[in-house]
């Protein structure tokens, strides 16, 4: 921590290296100094601590995917984790590194935002807890201060009345998704008591489709309602177009993927 803090303007943390090293090889990143955290064995934990899943700075993607957390969160992590790159990437890359890298289409970033997780940042002055909504500033930029490091990520464990559904579209298996949707609904007496819909790839950071969420509360889900929700979500985003998909195409994907994720969650088949 001291080395990092004293060299804050020229040093970068090296975790799994699965984003940083490609950027260095392309000369997109040219840090003068790397602080390799791979030797810190005590940071590779994934554990449930009362109602919270704690994921250490060195926990690899695959550890999170295979963590077998009780309740719906376990299944959700498995389903989302499988979408992150390929096996060799998942064996090296870290969950917290993905959050710090803050790619707007990263699965774990969208998950943190949807599941209302937070991040524990450590600097020389001590630790602070940053909620997902305050963590992602813009593409590849977080609210971490210079010299601060993510020491762990926290996700609330989901009670049994939560259900999840996901929908992704990527160009090839293992690629970043063009658009991804993570839906979480809490169902009480066959009606939606709470809904959260997280979107990746449609903005400069992961976002929630709040207007669509609001439409679902108190309702039983059916095809018509899901289509309305998809349209509301699509109207609520201002995607940027790039080589992987035009703005219009991404908006269209939101319209079809939101109903698909919700229908997976509800079990419409």
């Amino acid at each position: 921590m001291r080395i990092l803090a004293e060299n804050a303007d020229r040093a970068k943390i090296l975790a799994g290296g699965q984003s940083l090293v490609p950027m260095q090889n392309l000369r997109l990143a040219r840090p003068e100094m790397l602080v390799d955290i791979n030797g810190i064995d005590s940071a590779s934990f994934v554990m449930v601590d009362s109602d919270v899943l704690r994921i250490g700075a060195l926990a690899r993607h695959i550890q999170v995917e295979e963590a077998r957390v009780p309740g719906p969160l376990g299944g959700l992590l498995e389903e989302v984790g499988r979408q992150v790159g390929h096996l060799p990437i998942r064996l090296r890359g870290t969950f917290c590194g993905s959050l710090a890298h803050a790619d707007p289409a990263a699965e774990w970033c969208a998950l943190l935002a949807t599941a209302k997780g937070n991040v524990v940042a450590r600097g020389l002055g001590g630790d602070r807890v940053i909620a997902a909504d305050d963590f992602f500033d813009t593409a590849f930029t977080t609210s971490l201060a210079l010299g601060e490091m993510v020491v762990e990520a926290r996700l609330p464990v989901l009670s049994e009345d939560w259900r999840f559904g996901t929908a992704f579209l990527s160009r090839r298996a293992g690629d970043f998704a063009v658009v991804l949707v993570i839906a979480l609904i809490r169902v009480v007496e066959e009606k939606v008591a709470e809904a959260r819909i997280g979107l990746g790839g449609v903005s400069d950071r992961p976002v929630r489709a709040r207007s669509a969420e609001a439409m679902l509360v108190g309702e039983r889900l059916n095809r018509e309602l899901l289509e309305h929700a998809g349209r509301a979500a699509a109207d609520g985003v201002e995607p940027l177009g790039d080589l992987h998909g035009t703005a219009e195409f991404r908006r269209h994907l939101v319209k079809v993927l939101v109903p698909r994720a919700l229908s997976n969650a509800w079990g419409l088949g």
């Binding site: 699965q18 096996l87 060799p88």
Partner: protein, 160 residues
């Protein structure tokens, strides 16, 4: 940027190498140019193609994305090590029977990856196998013949 070298001891294919390396050299560069093990190919150097796949403590990793100095305490196995040990004789034969290669540039990476995938799960499902192999790129074969080759080895092994 400092060009100073640092000493590093690496265990590659069971052999110990005492080397002087620059901290910025990737493991791929070091096994190729310092250890003379040129079976590890460098295609993209961005983590995309997988032709540089080696085993680090048994795990398949992109050797273009890991620095040699990070491998101090690890066991490194390259395609040469797997081939010499006879561990992948079946895979090599299957690649040849099923036309799993044409120019051969991607082949070492695929063989290292496939051996690790089958080691992790000898009875892996077709879908999971395809997903796992989609990690690497081949510009020649169209993939189907590679998938067929690896499937045939899985079927031989899991049948006995």
């Amino acid at each position: 940027m400092s060009r100073a070298t640092v000493p590093v001891t690496l265990e590659v294919n069971g052999e110990t190498w005492d080397l002087e390396v620059e901290p910025r050299w990737s493991l791929a560069e070091v096994v190729r140019s310092r250890c003379g093990l040129t079976g590890t190919h460098l295609g993209c150097e961005q983590g995309i193609c997988g032709s540089c796949t080696v085993l680090v403590d048994g795990d398949p990793v992109r050797s273009c994305l890991i620095y040699a100095v990070q491998c101090r305490d690890s066991r490194i196995t390259t395609i040469e090590g797997l081939a010499a040990g006879g561990d992948i004789a079946d895979l090599m034969e299957a690649f040849s029977i099923h036309h799993g290669l044409q120019c051969g540039f991607c082949t070492p990476g695929f063989l290292v990856l496939a051996s690790a995938v089958l080691e992790r799960d000898p009875s892996i499902s077709d879908g999971d196998l395809e997903e796992a192999l989609s990690s690497n790129l081949c510009r020649c074969t169209g993939y189907y013949s590679i998938i067929k080759a690896v499937r045939s080895v899985r079927d031989q092994t899991s049948a006995c």
